[in-house]
Symmetry: C2
Subunit: 351 residues, 2 copies
């Protein structure tokens, strides 16, 4: 056992039905008097409700996916012009991301009110795109000071999107267990995240308006992001990054299809990760728990249904091999990676 674990400071509140009061308290605690509200047009109504009674100096809705630099620059200029002293973001990953871009140069504190399970609010990672190139970085200034979760803001999130987003969070949990900076602290948070997602997602599928299901999913996705940011990218994320980038495959389906095969590859050489996940799922093995959950929520299986072609397997193997993390429990070879990606392509049961 040997590690350096950095715990980042953040106050997280789960207050379903009470986001407005919770946000007001956080703004008051920060001593702020000129609020910049960031929310996309689509969530304008939600944002207005959540920021009722706040000293709003500026409401900003020019939110664009992947935070283009010019969008960030305009938002920064607007924050300056309005003399904002706090940013309140209401929305998903792109909205939180724009808040982070503004915080990065202005140093303004962020109070984040997430409406999806993206998890960006839990990390100090920022991202900006210039043309087609995405740059990411880590900076303590972009970590939201406080996060306010309110399950009632999420009951409208469609089931398929919720499942995709929740399985993406689960992939963060699982992959954290053998990622380059894995340690027993982020592993414990990852296992708790998996436990909560295993409880929450079937609830959401059975009843999208279930507050309990949404709360468990929120809690799980939050810890998934904390654990992943701490542990880094493991084999699963390296594979998904290659598949998504080279063949333009859909993000969520790719994660859902790849995860059980990476788990099956690694558990024989990762008994502790297996035991942690099995305990979290309440099943004899990690794989049994994941398969049970995937069946319950109707997770995507075969990537050939989503644009991946059999003749791309060899190319994908060649692209993944050089980026396999040295920390991966099972040595990755052309043979086992080919078998894995073929199984992903055809949706075979994980071995």
């Amino acid at each position: 056992m040997r590690f350096v674990h950095e715990t980042l400071p953040q106050r997280v509140r789960l207050a379903s039905g009470e986001a407005t009061a919770a946000v007001a308290e956080e703004v008051t605690l920060l001593g702020a008097t000129r609020v910049m509200v960031i929310a996309s047009e689509r969530e304008a109504g939600l944002a207005e409700s959540v920021t009722t009674g706040l000293p709003v100096a500026l409401t900003y809705d020019d939110v664009v996916m992947h935070v283009p630099v010019e969008v960030a620059d305009r938002a920064r200029a607007a924050a300056d012009a309005a003399e904002a002293d706090v940013i309140v973001t209401v929305g998903g990953g792109s909205t939180t991301g724009l808040g982070k871009a503004v915080a990065l140069t202005t140093g303004l504190p962020i109070v984040a009110v997430p409406t999806t399970y993206a998890g960006s609010e839990a990390t100090d990672v920022w991202g900006l795109t210039e043309g087609a190139v995405k740059t990411t970085g880590v900076d303590r200034r972009v970590l939201p000071r406080a996060v306010v979760y309110d399950a009632t803001l999420m009951t409208g999130l469609p089931v398929d999107l919720s499942v995709a987003s929740g399985l993406n969070a689960l992939a963060h949990c699982v992959d954290s267990l053998w990622a380059p900076r894995t340690d027993p602290i982020n592993a414990a948070l990852a296992a708790e995240g998996a436990r909560a997602l295993r409880i929450g997602l079937p609830h959401v599928v059975a009843d999208p308006h279930s507050i309990e299901g949404r709360e468990q999913t929120i809690h799980g996705a939050y810890l998934a992001a904390v654990a992943f940011a701490s542990a880094g990218s493991g084999l699963h994320h390296k594979i998904c990054h290659v598949l998504g980038g080279r063949y333009d495959l859909p993000h969520a389906q790719t994660h859902a299809a790849v995860l059980p095969h990476v788990l099956a590859l690694n558990v024989p050489n990762a008994p502790e990760a297996d035991a942690r996940l099995a305990a979290a799922f309440g099943t004899p093995t990690a794989l049994a728990g994941l398969e049970q959950l995937r069946a319950t929520v109707g997770a995507p299986r075969a990537l050939r249904d989503h644009g991946f072609r059999e003749d791309q397997v060899a190319d994908a193997v060649a692209a993944v091999l050089p980026v396999v993390p040295p920390s991966n429990p099972t040595p990755v070879t052309t043979e086992n990676l080919t078998a894995l990606l073929r199984a992903v392509w055809e949706g075979a049961d994980p071995a």
Copy 2:
């Protein structure tokens, strides 16, 4: 699910055999050039070894249990006179406590190198005594910026002391699960702490020089302190505080004897805590796991062997009842508390 969880910033390193290099790195990261080393006389040799090569401005060994105010004042004056810009503590709870007392008024950052499983290094709680009165408080300034754990510094800690200290940490984990500010985040950390202590303590008993056993115990005790500081005192700690304060019973034995009875009282109304601990212990129930561990490490059972008298049970019941936390899962009555304390007195098996 409804909570406010505050995560405190800290970097924790587990680097067995490499404390000296790790401490030097932390001091450098803080940009410090005048180190105040705090260590008791007994640990002078250890402290010298751990701080080799540092720019030490002052070595301070006037460490007294419970941090009397006059001891704190002298240490603060010494820090000022030496123009120290960082505190490095090497020792147990009293040593860390003196470092915190100095940090409280001077704002100096602390790098803590613990040599016991006390856990003070993981919290922002300070304590000072004036005469017989102990005052405690919470202040972000006293939270060590970094903690460096090195199992080789602990292999000399006697087995009985290690077990007592480890069971005390386990009590923090268990009691956190129904403490006033319990939430699923600190519960996950508490469960991980219990898991690690369950693995570590039998190793330490079997072989006090086992680095693996010491590392698991360190990791467990660290998370126990993090979880407890976040969740607050539950019924177990209220009972132990009364028993210790009124009848001068030994701290460690009291915790060891009381814990299974509080667990047995609460699990019927705390199924989630039961499930979390059972999963952490790898046993069918939480109680089975705790009893197995207590048997393995030879934990104290009957408090009548340690000075508690049968005729004090009624007095103890009367003293505990008014301080029972409202969050306790099982309603506490004169009847069930009397039965509990009688069982603790005679060392009966928990029901």
